[in-house]
Symmetry: D3
Subunit: 225 residues, 6 copies
């Protein structure tokens, strides 16, 4: 693989992205047919953030954050940088200086399958990061990777331009070509929950609301008094 | 093992449970003879919660949360659901809808050796969960497990009706038959700590307060100036 | 190794330590030539704390916290206790009673390659701990270790008296003999960042600010429109 | 928990145990209703061994193998020692001297949720061990545990006298009271496999042999040419 | 994602595949520009095997191996089944019966990001498997996945028909469209190594053979006598 | 830390090293006062090897094996290269070409806190390696580290010239200045074991041979018939 920076990427529809931010990761993931989630080791550096945006991908080598600076040059407002690694690494690839640059370019967050540092400053700046770990370990700038190529980040395939949703539940990737359809399905799912919630709060059991008693009995569940 | 739901379980004494909530996990664990702790990977989804209650156990299969709905039907006020897995899984078995149902039934919390989702909503609802991880990954409803049978959860044996105490230090299981005795021992332990704390705060060393200097010397400890 | 307590240790210069606290872990680590960091699994029990101080080291055996009491006797105001283990252990070696004693002696924090408990109380007391995990598991007092000998803690060599800096980004160890030089380098580094931050905030890319475009092109990076 | 050694335990039926050794871990686990397996991190120190026997349980503290010597005194011919830990530890609790003693007593193997050492000697002696890891780390003899009480080993509840089967696939625990029934079910299962194997070897697909095509289609599986 | 089985896939060129088997995983990975490797936790169940073939992919749900039987129906001689998981699972999805069926269909091996069982029998049959772990844990047949869709297996993107090479060093995926080119580059690389090996065996240092002394000195390396 | 290669190191006494190879890792570790062991994740790439030698240390950056070539130039007959990492990495830093060079220089083995590749070739060449993992992942040659400085490898402090012993039980580091004393203690320990082994093989219990019954009773152990 030759190191390249791909400049013209097709970004997922912005209306869809707005809708997906409204419903959050769990609902978006269900609406996508229970797929697209990154592994659960990806955690936010502070609680409560929820963002959605379009992926600018970057492929990094262990211990080397040179391409993060290249990626910064490709950010458009509304993007989320998704940083993948060629092999596992926990170094701190990103801190408050890069975050200042990313924010100035309009980035809404960073997803990185490695470490991040300056987490207190990032929290104060309100720049959300989902990462594998926190580490102050510095990196070098010696080896080329690529920007805006398909990558695998935290077990999930990501293409440049894909819709990303991230919140306290994790990170989900919605392929750009199904973002509209998924957003619609997610919104419908969400609309449907209020009524269920009210019933459950009133003490109705899921067993009855979802009509599970008969299938459970057929499957052989036995109650012992 | 045939899938069963055991309905009549003997719950630990409620006075003991109240006392145990007062002393917390570390003291309860010590009072139980330094036993009964779940593994330290079990962490609360938000800091500061402390609950105690009686265990309703549920055994789940990987990727399948059907039995959580069955367990909901067995909850009595003051119960804590303890969910064990037949093999390791990080999926998100539990979210805000199930929590609404659990709360309506009087559950005080959930202990689950797997993942949980909707953590922001759960935090706002004030429904505490101790889990192995956070994951938005959805589950199916296809395979039967059991409710209120003895299980192993996070390395600890739990019987239905056992007293559960959970706080920022983790989760401890106190067998129902020794809950009263353990609560008494724990309260005595706790009462004893105020005096020690005052001495230590005044600068008295544990070496002197616990009379350790002689045994340390006998064991061969040498001071080098 | 005979168990010993070394009493006369040479502590790193206090001016240097004050400077290091000001710049934090990431900058101190860079100023030290990108070295001295403990592994990233060492996390603070609550966010936002930053401390610096001089190391009192203690070597512990698995499941045995006897030497923590011995270490308490060696603390001088401004020290940070650094606890290493002879083999991996997650037990809770330290809680609110020991913290009361440590605080009374003037300790500024604890770094422990094992577990800690009573985290809610420690948080309320404002006594910061960086640890491998949280665990309520109690320990025994049966086997001697040593105090103020060279140890390896979380992958990092620590000598008694070394300067320790710990914050949300982790823990860094600055050898006492280079603490002054490192503090100076760190302060210079920090001073230099304000200007960079302003430029980046104004939208200047790191690619231009650091003059990376030419070396990237020479290394073979290709832009594809 | 007071430290005790329980001397009169009821051992699982020896005929059942012989049968279980014949079928191996995977088949025994299936015959038990897909339960009873220890976690997959338990691995044999050399390939190819398969043993079955009755459990002598021992509960150990981290870094302390005193009770292994006590357990040796309770071994009867045909027993397998199952060593559980009060908290996670990787130390080497067992080596060639203890193995010599265990063999002299008639033990058929060791299952330990911790480390083992002298693995080359153990391999040459033909004494099989399933463990969490290999470690030369020595232990002390200072703290009492118990022998022949119920324990949790590698995520599995074990009672003294239970039938243990261990081979290259892992370790399964068959409760003594169902050992006979399970052995019978396992033997039936095994007998049934020869015919299936022949069909599959001849190229018949499981899809047809197990008549899965219709249920797959009903569940919604679509073939795309 | 609707569950589908894609029947017409384009398999990588068989000449290229033969060449890749000759050079092995490390050389193939280098020839591919240092990419395409699965994570190093993927290990062979027995040492010494080396296979290459074309990928038949299958996406499995945790604890459910139904689709392995569907995948068997899609195997053509020379294929290697690559099994990915929708979430992490250690269950034993594959044993000697399925292996008998896979072999009858002409499969050359299995790559599975989960557990495998009957490893002794598989070893005797000479059917190589690279897996995340060994586990006797049985699975159910209840939930549909897909066959021959793009998957992520052990951190690596795999398309149906891609060339797979697996040996003691791990597993590499060579995209079908570059298999020929990669095989050629790998063969050239291999041819080039004999001469180097001879020089190094004669005591010539890599420092001299690769002319590294000057760049090392320029980079600032200092020798201290 | 400036990158340096230290050329004149003081190697541990060769007689001591010969003795240590004879007794192996477990006995050497005990003779050293139960210290000096690397973490148990360090495993040999093939079983049965045992080596001892003097440490040539090298400090590597993640994903960069340039310094391995520099280290090769410092090897003298009887050395073992000990490779430490500045941060965690699983890449394959070492394969058959470097091994050919190391062997030609007289190296007896490699200890590396990272990955290794070409394990089949290394096994056939009989060049033993203890590593964290096996990985085919290639590295770059871009960043300087150091040779023959003190390092921490797999949790253990190593100085250039220290005695290293490695076998199936792991890796132990004996500081050069105590190598002679430790070898003597180890030999004495070993000599003492034959008699014990004979007694245990004859059925004498450790309880009696080590006179443990009285201390166990005093500590409170109770036998229940």
């Amino acid at each position: 693989m030759k190191p390249v920076v791909v400049r013209n990427i097709k970004r997922a529809d912005s209306n869809a992205i707005g809708t997906l931010a409204g419903v959050g990761v769990s609902t978006a993931h269900e609406a996508l047919g229970r797929s697209g989630l990154m592994k659960p080791y990806m955690r936010p550096i502070y609680p409560g953030a929820r963002v959605s945006g379009t992926a600018v991908t970057v492929l990094l080598h262990p211990g080397d954050n040179w391409m993060m600076h290249v990626a910064a040059g490709e950010i458009e407002p509304g993007d989320i940088v998704v940083a993948a690694l060629t092999s596992e690494c926990t170094d701190g690839y990103f801190g408050d200086l890069l975050a200042t640059s990313f924010m100035a370019r309009g980035a809404k967050g960073l997803i990185i399958d490695a470490g991040v540092r300056d987490v207190k400053a990032l929290t104060e700046m309100g720049f959300p990061v989902w990462s594998k770990c926190v580490s102050a370990k510095g990196t070098v700038k010696a080896t080329l990777g690529s920007v805006n190529i398909p990558v695998v980040c935290a077990g999930d395939a990501v293409n440049p331009g894909d819709a990303i949703v991230a919140d306290d539940d994790g990170v989900v990737v919605v392929p750009a070509e199904v973002a509209g359809k998924t957003a619609k399905a997610a919104a419908a799912r969400e609309a449907n929950e209020g009524d269920k919630r009210a019933k459950l709060a009133a003490g109705v059991l899921g067993l009855d609301m979802y009509k599970m008693r008969e299938p459970l009995e057929k499957a052989g569940l036995r109650y012992i008094d």
